[in-house]
Symmetry: C2
Subunit: 295 residues, 2 copies
């Protein structure tokens, strides 16, 4: 996996540079807001979603600048959701990526506003002309990003998660919850390249199917890490789900069956890419990586 | 002002209908999120921003459906900002439009998520094809809405407001704060009709100038109401600014000079509309209304 690791690391560097450029600090008092936005976005995370955007975009020879902007926008959405998720009224987490969470480093009000501004910035970045010369592509990207992250996507999944204690959670319910909470945005990350590249229907469908399986595999791996991971390495508190008695893939299936399911899913994800040539090799490797990662 | 009152009331009815249509409730547990979104948006507010969109749109014979969707999107942004503004970590308000605030009627976590989802929905609505047949118009609207409401617009203004206690606030600073916090979104409301109608530069400039003066006049009137208003009629707690020792136009200028300034501003706003014929009469009246309203 040398190539994949190198590529992930290069994606991280490129993403940081792009986000730095997109998040300048103003002179006025709103500078504090922008500092909180940068704190929540820069120098952190696996940048897995940006990786998916950049890799799927290069399947269709999309300009690097375009792909980087959309990748940054998705990362802005992902980071805003973490900032709000960590708030005392939500998961009440003190640690994220090995550092104090945004509301700990700043304060609650600033963290709420920083999340709001990051989400807004994501749409600003996608809609702006440098993202693509064709405004139809930009409008389609905005629409797909909004659908993936709103009440019928990511935020709906977060609400579902909050309600999970009051619902009988079987494997079907956990699958639906996770598809909303993380799957839809990962799905958009993989589809964004196809939208940017105006890809034919069949290839776009293949990427959608790949994203679906990778997203689910990613979540099962997350549940396994929550049980078996090293908090030092993962950079956040672990075993919170188990302590809260939350239904997860692991609590419902057991460790062995969950691992087998994740294994099955990454292979199936890779198989969806058969319509592409060796340009998709890193995406194939990434499917395995999301399952075998240690953080 | 009979016509204006009738028009505002008709705008309220049309807006409610449009928002109801745009905010359906799902079967799953995310239905609670959608119920909170509807609670925060339906049956409330003066619908002043939608009024500006609809009135400026009809100057350029924009289809009613298009204007209604953009008006709804702006109202979604306005309502999300109120939900987050009312949170305990922010203004900690219990009452809004004469009813319990969203986090009181539901809970804090749901209110945070409802705000997030309302903001996301706004961009979804603007970017979707029914808003305008030309995707360039949709992309431009998304960009302008994001710029007006993000860290260099409304959210920046909210941060500024939180920091105001630590800054020497003179009239220039309060003007800048209010322009960010409320002026930019009111400005976009007036410009949206021109974008939808692909208006010539001069007319777009006139509407921008009108919006600038109306926005400021609106805020001075708000400050006056905070001092002199009847909390029963206004539907929210008053005199909070004065009790917190916050600098406002009224605290800096005194009641008389503030009123004179508001009076000057609405006349100046109306004068910017000289480039339009009698089709702009309701906008001229509205400039006066924002100053003389009692709620």
């Amino acid at each position: 996996m040398t190539n994949l690791n190198e590529c992930l690391s290069a994606t991280g560097v490129a993403m940081n540079k792009e986000l730095e450029r997109l998040l300048p600090i103003s002179e006025g008092p709103e500078g504090r807001l922008q500092a909180a936005m940068r704190y929540a976005c820069l120098d952190g995370g696996k940048r897995l979603r940006p990786f998916f955007v950049l890799q799927t975009a290069q399947l269709f020879n999309v300009a690097n600048q375009a792909a980087l902007r959309v990748a940054a926008a998705i990362e802005l959405v992902h980071c805003y959701s973490l900032v709000h998720d960590d708030l005392p009224a939500m998961d009440d987490d003190d640690l994220r990526r090995g550092r104090p969470t945004c509301h700990k480093a700043f304060d609650e009000a600033t963290a709420i506003l920083a999340g709001d501004a990051l989400l807004t910035k994501a749409f600003e970045v996608v809609a702006a002309p440098p993202t693509h010369s064709d405004p139809a592509v930009r409008a389609e990207l905005v629409l797909a990003l909004a659908e993936a992250s709103g009440d019928r996507g990511m935020v709906g999944g977060q609400m579902f998660d909050l309600m999970a204690g009051e619902i009988t959670m079987d494997v079907a319910a956990v699958t639906r919850l996770q598809n909303l909470k993380t799957g839809r945005l990962i799905g958009f990350s993989c589809e964004a390249g196809a939208i940017l590249g105006k890809a034919p229907h069949q290839q776009r469908q293949a990427l959608r199917a790949y994203a679906h399986d990778v997203g689910l595999a990613f979540q099962i791996a997350d549940d396994l890490l929550d049980i078996e991971g090293d908090p030092e390495k993962v950079g956040k508190e672990l075993r919170k789900d188990a302590e809260a008695g939350k239904a997860t893939f692991v609590s419902l299936l057991g460790v062995e069956r969950a691992r087998a399911q994740a294994d099955h899913l990454w292979r199936q994800a890779a198989a969806h890419l058969d319509v592409f040539d060796e340009k998709a090799d890193l995406l194939r490797e990434a499917a395995r990586f999301v399952v075998e990662r240690k953080l």
